[in-house]
């Protein structure tokens, strides 16, 4: 039912909430994957603007995938996420991100992303992740 954007493949998701709001797509090699979702009528508010909750969910999902990629899927949890909403995204927009791992310590990973629509930043997120079982 969903259209896969050119150059992308559908991302395999396991969390019920992510499957519910998805699909999500990615392209590129493990460790430098770019992610995208196509905003549809489920994702928007009554004004037709993509809901902040969907953008934050997409951020948690994609930054988490990047953290997994670099840790060989080690169990981790989000400790903190800081978000800024720069511009409205609308139904029909393809929202893309290339997550960046800013720093990794033994127990923590700092990840961020600029989320774009047609090359223009609409939303940014910076997050801190805890690797479970690591001091």
């Amino acid at each position: 039912m969903s259209v896969v954007p050119a150059g992308f493949v559908e991302t395999k998701l396991v969390d019920p909430f992510e499957i519910y709001v998805g699909p999500i797509f990615d392209s590129g090699a493990l460790g430098s994957r770019r992610f995208a979702f196509l905003a549809d009528e489920r994702h928007v508010n009554m004004r037709g603007i993509v809901h902040g909750g969907m953008l934050m969910t997409f951020a948690d999902l994609t930054l988490g995938q990047a953290v997994w990629d670099m840790t060989n899927n080690a169990p981790s949890v989000t400790l903190n996420m800081q978000t800024q909403f720069l511009k409205a995204a609308k139904a029909g927009d393809l929202v893309e991100v290339l997550p960046q791992i800013v720093r990794r310590t033994r127990a923590l990973i700092f990840a961020r992303g600029d989320f774009t629509v047609q090359g223009e930043i609409v939303f940014t997120a910076a997050s801190v992740w805890k690797l479970l079982g690591q001091d």
Binding site: V14, D15, P16, M46, T57, L79, F85
Partner: protein, 141 residues
Amino acid sequence: MGDLPDGLPEGAELASIGGFNLFVGPLYRLPDSHEGAVKRFAFVAAEKHMNAAGSVHGGMLMTFMDVAMSRTSRLVSGAPTCSTVSLTCDFVGPGRLGELIEARVAVTRQTRTMVFMSGELVVAGRTLMVGTGLWKIAEPA
């Protein structure tokens, strides 16, 4: 109303009308506390809200905080539209399937065009998330 699930406190009313709010909901508004200074909201964690580890997904918790602060900014400003400028969330503890998760939001400062808020998500005295948010009043009175 008539369709409220069991376990919701007295005075709860449906807060999801359409769009993403309804898609991830239903979300509810609860009566204010602290003489109106604290706006309260709730939802019951269902299967669709979970992650594979058996906790409520962080995206859902942030969505709920966003909805609670958005609604609070409209309530205190009287404006029909307010937009999220920034939201920072700390994930303090996990939420579980079936739990009634409550949001409590207080306004730190309100100017003609902006609303500064702080909020927490709690389950029966346990804190799941704390957050601070900055909202822009789209059409100040």
